[in-house]
Amino acid sequence: MYILQVIINGIMLGSVYALLGLGMSLILGIVKLTNLAHGELIILGAYCSVFLTSRLGINPFATLLITVPLMFIFGYLLQRLLINHAMKRGAEAALLVTFGVSVILKDGMLLLFTADARHISSELGSSSVNAAGMDISLLSIILSIISVGAIILLMVFLNRTYTGRAIRAAADDPRAAELSGINVAKTFSAAMGIAGAAAGIAGFCVSMKWTFYPDSGGHYLLIAFVVAVLGGLGDIRGTLAAGFIFGLIQVIGGANYGMLISYIFLIIMLVTNPKIAHAADDLSAR
């Protein structure tokens, strides 16, 4: 029974990790950009949810209806007004811009929301479901469903809609995409908008599950990066699988060894997996 409990906890944690990495992976795979502000986008989403809940008294889950569109617009404009222009000057310029954005966001959130720890407490956190002799946190179950649901929704969107196909086409060959009538700059902006929206949902999960500060972004950026790389850069199904693996390692390794084992695992994957190594080459070549 203990092993089953570990697996279930690992998968539930992993689904949130997958969501943390979703936007990062999308931008790495499509725009070929390491978005160093991804962690701050997650924290910004978390503050949105906290603000709407504590100041306006909105139900925490209902805050998603406001946070997700806002974060989409924020991501879209960020790419449209800033990163697209920087990308014309090369990948390094764009990388530096995302670093600048992360610093501005971090300091901005510190000014606006102070350095106090934040968390959305809900009665769900203390309730649990008892099944087959195991106690499973109800909150964790709901957050896993939201995470996996968001990932599946994105997969369907990318596969079934014109904009989704345009995003994949622009990732594959931007020039051929332009010749097919796709405006690549707008498409990249839409992709960043989606990454922002995904970060918004991830931020909501962070605010429900953990305590966060204005400078927590770095921690989540690291998790997102590991998940995106393990998942194969832009491969959404891979991102989900990578999240699960990462979550299981965390639960098995516990607070002391979880992170250490994860990073050792990441290095082994980088060295041994030809697909990831190739993708990393691709990225550095651009």
Binding site: R175, E178, S180, G181, I182
Partner: protein, 239 residues
């Protein structure tokens, strides 16, 4: 052979200091097949890329259906009804054949007819239907070229530009693809510009021929009236 659908007037294109296309003028009648021939570096690919909006001209004007389209972005040019099939096809290799084709009907004008256009593409190239769920990267060179032509057709173009479509393909495959283009031209009334190095085949199929050398048009005329000798001389630039 009456109305002019596409017109290039005194066009020059520069890459830095290098003049790739110099003072080129062409006028393409609606529904015709026109070949643009020349060796490597004669400026024909640059000319096509400029027509598709990928390069900005230094001087001159491009008009399509009476409107000036010089300097318009590539996606808007597709929206207007011009589609370039680039050298080597450039399929989206990681996407399925079906998704490649559907990506071709991205422009709003073409979306409503996507289903019908898709049937048309599969009728022209039955092999694409058989392989519709496979990634385009797994196709042979000829099939990838067919997928690229299909993707271009999905945008319901009035004018199709083919850049060195026969490059690196087996003669039997080229024959099939040329037959399909002939059908597109005669059945849909689509205007076609064939950019080729292979003079004989392109001239046999086209109504009118331009021969380019070092960025300029050195010879033009009805394909049936140009003699093999003058074509050869213009092509290689020998006097």
């Amino acid at each position: 052979m009456s109305d002019v659908i596409f017109e290039i007037a005194d066009l020059s294109v520069k890459y830095g200091e290098f003049i790739a296309v110099s003072d080129v003028s062409m006028s393409i009648p609606k529904g015709s097949i026109v070949s643009v021939l020349g060796t490597n570096g004669s400026g024909k690919t640059t000319l096509m890329n400029t027509a598709a909006g990928l390069c900005a001209p230094f001087l001159g004007e491009i008009r399509f259906m009476g409107e000036d389209i010089t300097g318009i972005s590539p996606d808007m040019i597709v929206e207007r009804g011009i589609s370039l099939v680039p050298q080597g096809g450039r399929c989206f290799n990681r996407m399925s054949v079906l998704d490649n084709l559907m990506a071709g009907s991205f422009v709003k004008r073409a979306r409503g007819n996507a289903k019908r256009s898709l049937d048309r593409v599969f009728e022209l190239f039955p092999v694409l239907y058989e392989k519709r769920h496979l990634p385009a990267g797994s196709l042979s060179g000829g099939q990838r070229q067919m997928a690229a032509i299909g993707r271009s057709l999905m945008s319901e173009p009035q004018l199709m530009l083919f850049d060195e479509l026969s490059l690196g393909l087996a003669p039997v495959v080229i024959k099939d693809i040329y037959a399909a283009i002939k059908r597109i031209s005669s059945e849909e009334g689509t205007t076609v510009i064939l950019v080729e190095q292979d003079t004989a085949r392109a001239m046999q199929m086209s109504d009118y021929t331009y021969i380019m050398l070092k960025g300029s048009v050195v010879l033009e005329g009805a394909s049936s009236e140009l003699s093999a000798e003058e074509v050869r001389k213009a092509y290689f630039g020998s006097r």
